[in-house]
Structure formats: structure tokens, C-alpha cells
Amino acid sequence: MSAGFIASFPSLVRRERASLVATFIAPAVALVVALVLNLSLYLLMGRDPVAVLYAMLLEPFLSWASFSEVLLKAGPLLLIAQGLAIGFRAKVFNIGAEGQFILGAIFASAIPVWFPQATGQWIWPAMLLLGAIGGALWASLTAFWRVRLNANEILVSLMLSLVAAQLLNYLLLGPWKDPNGFNFPQSVMFPYDAMVPTLIAGTRLNVSFLITLALSLAAFVFMQKSFSGYKLQVGGLAPRAAGYAGFKEGWTIWLSLLIGGFAAGLAGAAEVAGPLGQLQRSISSGYGYAAIIVAYLGGLHPIGIVVSALVMAVIYIGGDNAMVSANLPIAAVRVFQGSLLLGYLIAIAFVRYRLEWPKTAQKAAHRSPS
């Protein structure tokens, strides 16, 4: 590659001040770019892009029933992403939310599996709490490994997710398998009291959605208004300054992972005690990984994440629709998610940088001596 070849490319020049406009436009640009790329891919695959577009982006909004499913799907994504974003801002990369979600589901299921005869309105709140604790405990392993053993939290949390999936399989094929379940890998159906009460009659939307919204508000207050949230952010932006100010790195890591694990565990509990009503193999459909994208797409900001969780939920529901109506493989959703994050990472560069074309750079150089 000759120097002249490289010089003909536009270069990134740091802006004097970050562009607020670019911050808001970036997710939308990413969405449009991902849409164009993926629709082209569907066209290459011989699918009708208009039909896919209709099924993916319009159908979810066409009836209250399908929109309520979008909200239902947005719940766990929103909850997990809020927890992860707090850690990401502190540069603690917990990417094991999938495992923390599974452990939350397992912990919550312990009550109806072990005490199927129990009754009372205390059961579902106890399950949610137990699930959150389970998720936090699983995440605390990563925190211990990182703080005490200096191990990379990305690798440890991911490995623990793979272990969690095996643990779930073990329970469902072994001790927790429903004896009357025709040998399917799933637990007994939960009794009525082990289910989170429905919010709106006729939909599957339940009280956990309100809890999720309340916790989103709490995340906003915590990150934008509290001193602890401030300490976390300083730790992420300027670790050295945080050290001089006496903010402990270990504290940051523990708090980030415990919050992330708590939120993911709660989401897992709400899933088994909500729309699923039992512990199954396919409890997650990749929420833990999708939530990472949701967190970034929302600019790691509690309000942005509310919007991006809805967008991601539409992609999930729309992907299901397109699978049925346009014969699109479900893997297309993952391709879309990956390209969406890549598009966002490109678009977000324009918050801090602007493009400068070689010609304008030369002009600027000519002008500057005067």
C-alpha cells in the first residue's frame, strides 16, 4: 500500500467538542444501514425484501396483541441491558449475562419445583428475589476471579455462561425433569401462585414489566444523580484519576458485576415465572448477548436503553413473523443484531470525530498560514 493510496482516503479528525447531534442520530443511522444491508442479503437469498420488511417492522405494530408481545420481549432485554450498561460505563465488561439469566431462572424455579404444593401470594415475589440473588451470585464468581485473581472478566463471565447452559441441561434431563412430561427436557408446569400476575387482561404482559420500568428509573437516578454512579463512571473514563481520588477499583468491579448479575437474574426469574411458566431449555433465546447490543445502541444511557430495548424487541418479534410469512431462517435475527452493532460502532465515531477529505485538508493547510 503506497502512501499516496492511503492519503486519498478521508481521515478522521478529532472534533473540538463532542457532537450531541451525532449522539442522537447514530443509532438511527445504524438501524437504517443494518436494514439496507440485511434486506440486500435477503434479496440474494431469494426472499421478497418487501414482505420481510412488512413482517419485521410493520406487523409488530399492527395489532395490540402483537405489540404487547413486543413489550413482553423488551422486558428482559431492557432489564439486562440496564444492568450491563452500568458496568460497561465503568469499563467492566460483563458479557456473561446469559449465564446470570439462566441461574436466575434456575434459582426462581427451585421454589415451585421443590414445593409444588405451596400456596400464597408470597411465592412469585420470593421467586423473583431468589432469581436476582442467583444471578448476582453467579456474577460474583466473575467478580472474585477479576478482583482477587486478576483474571479477565470477559473470558471468565463468558465461560461461566457456557457452564450455566450445561447446568440447565443437567437439571432438565435429570433431577428436575417433569416425571409426567413425556420425557421432554422441561420442569413441571408452575402452579398459579408461582406466576407473576398479568398486567393487562388478554395479553401475556405481567407485573414484572412495571418492575423493569421502575428499575430503569432507578438506574437513571443511580448513574446520573448519585455519588456511587459518579464514582463508577470516573473509574471507567479515567481510572488513574479515580485511583488518586481514592475510588477503589475492586469496589467498582464488584458493584458492576453484582448489579449486572442481579438484573439478569431477575430477568431470568421473570421469564420462567411469566410467559414460560416452567423451566425449559430454550428459556433465553440469546437475551444475554442481545442485551449487550441493546446497551451499546442505547448509548449506555438509561433512557436510550429503553428505546433500544424496544427496537431490539421489534427485531425479535419481527424476525419470528418473517420466519413464518417470508420463510426467513431465524438465524437472520442474529445476523441483523451483529450488523446493527457494527453499524452503530461506525456511526458513533462521528460523535468525537469528523471526516476530513484530502482536498479540504490541503485547502485548510493553505489557509492556515494567513
Partner: protein, 303 residues
Amino acid sequence: MNAIEFILAGMLAAATPFLLAALGELVVERAGVLNLGVEGLMALGAVLAFIFVYHGGGHFLGFVAAGLGSAALSLIFAFVTLGFRANQVAAGLAIGILGQGLSALFGKTYESLTVKGLPRLAVPGLSDIPVVGGLFVQDIVVWISLLATFVIWVMFAYSKLGLVIRAVGENPKAAHAIGYSVITVRVLAIAFGGAMAGFAGAYAAVIYTPLWADGMIAGRGWIAIALVVFGTWMTGRIFLGACLFGAVSLMGLAAQATGLDVPSQLLSSLPYLVTIIVLGIISADRRLLKLNGVASLGEPFER
């Protein structure tokens, strides 16, 4: 054949996907870039190789397709992280998700189909030694992987190219100042890492277990990244680590064969648990990591 002979004979083949991907990631990280997308790059390589071999293209073309395809995907990573200075962790995760999605998409109509593997070639004489003889009966790709390990070791230890890559990773500003193009070196390193991950996936899908199943990489890409840390960025140690993981992944099979009453899920999670434990042990020696680590790992380069 007892358990030890079984593990010795199969260890190198089981280690090869880990080894190839980890060697690629080693070069990438030595150049100062952290690419976490290995799992997805391997998955894409695996499905491309499988499709080529399934349709009679042969193993050689299968590996070529896997290498080219995964290198192309890794260049998207390079475009985003080097061109737009994006967060390498997030971009790596995105490439991983994209690669796994693409592999599932391309592989949908091939689910559970099988192809023929490659014959194993014996080293005359050595392969007749009792107990360890199995080590010397391997397919051609294993032999090439061993050669590649040696070549990469020589490159980092003795060649100017190795020095340039390390300089770019240790102190990109200084490397730039003395006239090396940091971006060019990093792009090439990323493409190399992508191709190696593609080969690793291809080996897994058309030779080691010659069948296609969605998710068949099963965390091996992530273990390969961990191997680079285990080996503290040194070629020889990464090779030993890959052998360890080859042996660990066979232990499950060996244990089942002896009729040991352990849940199969525990055996399946053995490589993950070993990764977690070894990662803890190695990382606890902070001095070792600091000494051998790559100074500018994961940081974008700005002139």
C-alpha cells in the same frame, strides 16, 4: 487401548482447532489489537469449509474458502476498529454474533449432514513405539499446524517481521515515528488472525468431527482467546496450552468409555471449568502478565 493411549493418540487432533485459532489471535494481540470475534470467525470458516467439501470441492478448497471467508469477516472488524477507532471489545462481540449468525444462516440446509474426514499419516518407526506411538499418526493438517507453530515461534523470536509486529503492539507511536505503518501492520495481522480462525473452524467441521451442526464450535473460539493469556503471549506455551485442552476435551470421552458415572454435562463443561481455573492461576501472577503482556492491547491508535 487404555485411556492414556486414547488421549495421547487423539490429543493433537483435538488440540488443532484451539492451536490454529490461538496462533492467529496471538499475532493479532501482539500487534496490539484484541479481536474477541474468534468464535464467530471459526463458525463461519467451519460452515464454508463444510459446504465446499460436501459439494465435492475437496478439503483443500474447503480450507481455502474458510480462510478467505473468515479473513474477509475479520477485515470488517479491522474497518470498524482501525478505520473508525471503535471500541475493540464491542466490535469483537459484534463480529462474533455476526459470524455465528451467518454460519447458522448458510448452514441451515446442511444441518446434521456428514462428510468424509482425512486419512491419518503415520511417521514410520515412531508410530510403532508402544503407548506414545499414537502421537505420530495424524492427518496432514495436524502436521502443518505443528509446522505453523514452529514458523510463528521463529518469526517472533528471530525475524524482523516479528519485531515490527511487536513494536506496533508495544509502542505504536514509536513504531510510527520510525516509519512503520501501524494501521497496515494491524490490518494484515487481523486478516491473518481471521484466516487462522477460519482454518481452525474448517478443521473442526470437516476433519475432526466431519459433520455440520449449528453451534458446533461450542466455545472453542473463546478458549483459544484464553489460551493466548495462558501462554502469556508466547508461542511455545500456547502450543502446550492447546495440547492440554485437546487432552481435556478427550477426557470426557475417555471417562464415558470407562463407564464412569458422571453426568455428561459435567464432562462437557470440563474445558470451560479448566479455562476458568487456569485463567485464575495464571492471571494471579500479575508480574508475569505485565512482563509478557502487550502494552497497547485494545487501545486505538491515533497519530
